[in-house]
């Protein structure tokens, strides 16, 4: 990672000790340095939430927008100047609850932006309330006897809405995460990376997941690589989260346009 991508005068960051957001941010900066992008041509857009503080620590141009409205802003930036690499950093609630509609419609339109979801399974900034990605039966501030609702599967949601690159990774597997972030940024079309992070202060404490170190190393136990999971039965995968690349369609938009022209 290039340290000059960080605004070192703004550090230390405001995140709690052991927060996973810093690890996702580091992986993103690593991916940008590996791609050798021009720092002047990278724009980070964020909404509201713990994760949305991330662009403020980087030396790139960034926009801190309204809650959930990061994707429309990013769409506008991309339309105004298509040479820019526009990356949206958003949290699980910001992306799937408040900005859920924007997410599915950006995926449907196949806007050439990258969405990185810092998924810590709850609303960290406001005190650990349940988000649409909080797993069933998990304890949060608003679900003290366990979450009654089923969570969204963000990967299937984005795939169903028509995203052309969808991947999921965890912060324990940093090399895997950097790899998929790199692919997502260089992908032409809508790309989404669900980066499973951790919130040791709220989600971890309420659900007795142990210290930040235990939470991060436990990802080895409950995450399965996609090529391993494809060979297993659905019963064996109960309670596990599959990580890897789910969708990677190159030139989808062009194929649609060509097919429509042939028909007419």
């Amino acid at each position: 990672m290039r340290l000059d991508f960080l605004r070192s005068e703004r550090l230390p960051n405001i995140w709690c000790p052991g927060c996973g957001n810093g690890i996702v941010l580091r992986a993103l900066l690593e991916a940008i340095s590996q791609l050798q992008l021009d720092p002047d041509k990278v724009v980070l857009v964020s909404g509201i939430g713990c994760s949305s503080r991330a662009p403020a620590y980087t030396a790139f141009d960034n926009v801190h927008t309204l809650h959930g409205r990061a994707i429309p802003t990013a769409t506008g930036i991309k339309l105004a100047n298509p040479d820019l690499s526009v990356i949206v950093l958003t949290g699980d609630g910001d992306c799937s609850a408040i900005g859920g509609n924007h997410l599915i419609h950006a995926a449907r339109r196949d806007v050439d932006i990258t969405v990185v979801v810092f998924n810590n399974y709850n609303y960290g900034m406001t005190g650990g309330q349940a988000s649409p990605l909080t797993p069933a039966a998990s304890i949060t501030t608003t679900t003290p006897s366990g979450n009654m609702d089923r969570p969204f599967d963000l990967v299937n949601l984005a795939t169903g809405a028509g995203a052309t690159y969808v991947a999921r990774s965890g912060i324990y597997f940093t090399k895997h995460l950097v790899d998929h972030l790199r692919k997502a940024i260089s992908h032409r079309g809508f790309s989404l990376v669900d980066a499973v992070a951790q919130c040791p202060t709220y989600y971890g404490r309420f659900n007795r997941k142990g210290s930040a170190g235990q939470m991060i190393t436990s990802q080895k136990d409950w995450m399965v690589l996609k090529n391993v999971a494809d060979k297993k039965n659905p019963e064996e995968l109960a309670g596990k989260v599959v990580i890897g690349e789910f969708v990677n369609i190159i030139g989808a938009r062009q194929a649609d346009i060509d097919a429509a022209k042939e028909q007419s």
């Binding site: 000790p17 052991g18 690890i23 930040a212 991060i216």
Partner: protein, 70 residues
């Protein structure tokens, strides 16, 4: 037998929040939590330069560099 490489671990104490992630992820137990609940580099000679602690530090507080003999 090839000579063992040695690594220099730099720890920016100003940025570190003592979350203990480096203690948990290090495969060679280079770090330990000391009695003041702060993490400390106790066995720097065991470091194999795998960069696990660097990649997992949320506060950008660690760097590991190979020491090159002149």
């Amino acid at each position: 037998m090839p000579e063992r490489k040695s690594y220099k671990i730099t720890h920016y104490r100003k940025w570190c929040k003592n979350c203990g992630i480096c203690v948990a992820v290090c495969p060679k137990k280079v770090y330990e939590i000391d009695r003041n609940d702060r993490h400390a580099i106790v066995h720097p000679q065991d470091c194999i330069g795998c960069q696990m602690c660097v990649d997992h530090c949320p506060d950008f507080a660690l760097t590991v560099e190979e020491v090159k003999d002149e």
